[in-house]
Amino acid sequence: MAGHGEEMSPFVMRYGHFVDSRQAVIDEVTAVFMPEKRSYTGLAQAEIFCHGGRQVVTLILQEVLASGARAAEPGEFTRLAFMSGRIDLARAEAVAEIVAANTEHSYSAARDHLLGTYTQHISDIRGKLIGLIAEIEASVDFPEEDISPDEKNTLLESAQQLTAEIDRLMETYRGGKIVNEGYKIAIAGRPNAGKSSLFNQLLKQERALVTPTPGTTRDYLSEWIDLEGFAVNIIDTAGLRKAGGTIEKAGQTSAKKIIADCDLVIWMIDLTQRKWREQLYGDIKMLGHNNIISAQNKIDLVDDVADLKAGSGLPEMVATSCLTGRGIKGLKKVIVQRINEKMPDLTSGVMVTSARHRQKLAAARKALKSARQKIKLDESPELTAFDLRQAASALDEITGKVYNEDILKEIFSRFCIGK
């Protein structure tokens, strides 16, 4: 490298050549040095930028490894950053999410975690919880003092509010899950209704085989699309009907499974079928799903759409033509609406996206519930405190922080104590 032997100043990009052990030039590169505590990992770190060819990268890596370096394990940089104390546990997890994030929303949720909005929110809840514990502990540790910790009703109210806050946070997990794991849509319907055609329309490519023969799709097809920033998984399923060959039957069984497991079903109706109205009620009932949109397909072939009202056992209807593309935009709009219904306010930046966090929140919630019960029954305060401390330590497990002293600090700041 040019300037070999010189001290490199931090954060200054230097230009030079990467040479091998025999001083042969491998590539023109730039490099930068980041000192301890000021790098991503918190350790001293150097980065080398080379040209993008596979061969060059391999040669450089070989050279680096030969001179004693070790390839990082997946996630190791983040682990180091966590271990050096630069980021907390929740933020370390967020990095893992950011790396995996492939849509706008999952990116922004992960970014907010990384920036600590989320951690801050948990800390706020924890702070309130410590306040509640302090009220209760004060009456235990200072029984002779002339202090008036909160009355039963106020305590109950605080506990109730905390529960509600945790509930709200937990509810975001539905949204968080969508953001993180994606939203799953099954396209279902009777054979030949146009399911595969819709699938292709949404994908904007001819992915599924489309024929005029009913029963064309025998297994299922799954693809991901980006719908206004949401990662959406659409699945084209085999047509559902009563009789059929064995393969089709297998296809139908898998279709039923997919339907049971998805967030939303788009039920395709073939408007050219004379009896579609009569069939619809039974079909929807058979689906047994709580989130359905019905696409009245092949609108281009019929003159009028019967005016069927949603509600009374029928889902919302959207008239479409997978041939002309009419109604597809409207259908997408309805889908996004349905997703948004489950999303928390994304601008607040507070959303639970990890199953581990959800589990800890649930534990905190459970402990709070038990504490509320105890307050109600006038049980001894040290028992209530026991539950509340469990709730606090569940929250601590999200951000990884445990301080015993916090409670006393709170008591002394709230109450005038001391004989």
């Binding site: 350790l43 907390d88 235990v140 002339d146 040290e382 028992l383 005038c416 104590i417 001391g418």
Partner: protein, 620 residues
């Protein structure tokens, strides 16, 4: 003069240390300024109280003296928190100050046979990094294998009353300045803390009719199973309040207080604020309670608990005379604040032996604590560990799940002192499993192991344990007809009868309600009150204790990840500098302890654990 254990300072810590050493068969001496002031209570004449009483019970279970002395000299006994669960009950005894010190002096010198040397220790003698003895300020050398410093508030003691400053360890007593220098010369870091005390007043000049009477509790809740004192007529305490004028006077003169004038720079305890501090910090509170506690039966002196102050004497007079009932009161001794030296406790190991000088131990106030009970607990541990050190045995360390003593010493050795430390039940994570009633269950085996209690006591306790278990079993078998119950039966309407156990386990049932129920439904058994109480407590807490035991198992796992003494924290790669500094400072002995050091993150602990693993592998 040559001893196994030399104790400098015959306060609450020193006395227990000497006693333990002698019980373990060693020759011990207490070097102290005044042989008649052994375990003299410097401040309020009371032993026990929240969390402190747990320590008294623990000291008692380990053969210590404090509980017995309080029982013998108490004039009023109370059990705080009785309406709460047994885990937070706390015995508090109002003791006769001079009788207490006399009782202890006689016990220590005459019954136990500790040499009490009346002198002021000025220097710690060492040889090759080991302690060798002490030299008194008048030049006498006393040699010993171990030395325990229990110097209380006397190290560099400086009293403040308004702008007046007096070098003293306690009012009217000398301070120990040379010893403090000696510690610094040995390389110890010495810090400064502050505490304060109220004026003493003449009981004859108090109008008690304006105060609220606070009688003792019956039956008298004695501390020690060893005491044989019979029920007696208790002396009441009184409660009164400051008035608007008090607030006015104190606030107007606040600037004259040594605390506010800047004369005192060290930190005092948040839980023991001076009266000027109370009006200042909680300005919206108009009055504060003052407990009037008699100093003893043979004296008229009264201790106005809650009125600690370092205001000038004339202001103290004006202010206290505005307290209801004290309008014509006479002050017999002014209140004062005192600053003193202490050695931040990162310098001692969990055994209380110093890291710097082998065989030298610190106990009590010198470790940054405050309170007689805290001192006694440490003194006892230091005494035992001094003997174990001589015998080259492993030290005796109680962990956070075994005793409040363990919680205290662990707190002291893993966090920086920001104020004089005292115990609270909220400091004990496993508080439901560490109660007054089961102190002996928790500690008896150690008492026996180290020979701290006579064998017959041990056997008597086993009998009590068996009785407790029998009572528990019995409660399960006895059936109670729901129709025989008052409102307590409401919850059991669906059944004809329930077990007595179930009845006793009802939430919110206090012991005072439980005992009559037992008497009523359990007529034919004849267990002692103590056994019955223990049985009720054990069934009421069983579920929680089981839960805590699971937590304790997790905790113990981390405690058992031992960090060797020679572990080199400085060389650990991947650890941030702050964490390294903290580890080097506190030298944690286990992964669990490392995790409790303030400011250490879970991340630091995972780095440390990786290095520990590697260390273990390579050193095998």
């Amino acid at each position: 003069m040559d001893y196994d254990v030399i104790i400098v300072g015959g306060g609450h810590a020193g006395v227990e240390a000497a006693l333990a050493a002698v019980r373990m068969g060693r020759k011990a001496a207490i070097v102290t300024m005044d042989r008649h002031k052994l375990a003299l209570m410097s401040c309020n004449p009371a032993i026990g109280g929240i969390a402190k009483s747990h320590v008294v019970k623990e000291v008692d279970a380990l053969g210590g003296l404090m509980g017995l002395a309080a029982d013998a000299t108490g004039i009023q006994f109370r059990r705080l928190n009785l309406s709460r669960g047994a885990a937070v009950w706390s015995t508090r005894v109002q003791a006769d100050r001079s009788h207490y010190a006399r009782f202890i002096s006689e016990y220590v010198a005459d019954i136990i046979g500790v040499d009490v040397i009346e002198s002021l220790a000025g220097a710690i003698l060492t040889e090759n990094g080991k302690v060798a003895g002490v030299r008194t300020e008048d030049g006498v050398t006393i040699t010993g294998k171990t030395v325990i410093i229990c110097s209380g508030t006397f190290l560099g003691g400086l009293i403040h009353i308004g702008t007046k400053q007096i070098k003293a360890g306690r009012r009217g007593e000398k301070a120990a300045y040379r010893l403090s220098e000696s510690l610094k010369e040995l390389g110890f870091e010495v810090g400064r803390l502050k505490t304060g005390t109220p004026p003493r007043i003449d009981g004859d000049s108090i109008d008690f009719s304006k105060c609220e009477i606070q009688p003792g509790h019956e039956p008298i809740p004695f501390f020690s199973h060893r005491s044989d004192r019979q029920p007696f007529e208790q002396t009441p305490c009184y409660l009164t309040y400051t008035t608007d004028q008090t607030k006015e006077i104190v606030s107007a003169n606040q600037h004259l207080s040594a605390i506010f004038s800047g004369q005192i720079k060290s930190i005092g305890p948040r839980y023991c604020p001076s009266i000027e501090d109370k009006f200042h910090r909680f300005a919206d509170k108009d009055r504060h309670q003052i407990f009037l506690e008699p100093e003893g039966n043979g004296t008229n002196e009264v201790y106005p608990n809650g009125f600690a102050t370092s205001l000038p004497e004339d202001v103290q007079y004006d202010a206290i005379r505005t307290v209801t009932g004290l309008e014509n009161v006479r002050i017999t001794q002014p209140g004062y604040a005192i600053e003193y030296d202490y050695c931040p406790a990162f310098q001692v190991k969990p055994s209380l032996e110093t890291r710097r000088v082998r065989g030298l131990f610190f106990a009590g106030q010198i470790n940054g604590t405050s309170g007689y009970e805290e001192a006694a607990g440490q003194g006892l541990m230091a005494g035992i560990n001094a003997v174990l050190y001589i015998e080259k045995e492993d030290p005796f360390v109680l962990d956070r799940s075994q005793a409040y003593i363990g919680v205290m010493i662990d707190d002291l050795t893993t966090r920086s002192t920001t104020e004089p430390y005292r115990l609270f039940t909220s400091r004990a994570e496993y508080r439901l499993a560490m109660r007054e009633d089961n102190a002996r269950d928790r500690l008896n085996r150690f008492a026996q192991k180290y020979g701290l209690v006579p064998e017959d006591e041990y056997q008597a306790f086993e009998k009590l344990q068996i009785q407790t278990e029998e009572a528990v079993r019995h409660f399960k078998e006895v059936r109670v007809k729901v129709s025989d119950l008052d409102h307590r039966g409401d919850r059991f309407k669906k059944v004809d009868s329930i077990s007595l156990e179930k009845l006793l386990k009802q939430p919110g049932l206090t012991i005072n309600e439980a005992l009559p129920l037992i008497a009523r439904f359990n007529g034919d058994i004849d267990f002692t009150r103590e056994a019955l109480e223990r049985a009720v407590i054990s069934i009421q807490y069983r579920g929680y204790v089981a839960k805590q035991e699971r937590e304790i198992a997790k905790f113990l796992k981390m405690e058992s990840e031992v960090i060797p003494d020679d572990f080199n924290f400085a060389s650990l790669a991947g650890l941030k500098q702050e964490a390294k500094d903290k580890f080097i400072h506190f030298r944690p002995g286990s992964l669990g302890q490392a995790g409790r050091i303030e400011g250490v993150t879970p991340g630091d602990i995972s780095v440390l654990s990786i290095h520990l693993l590697r260390h273990k592998r390579t050193s095998k």
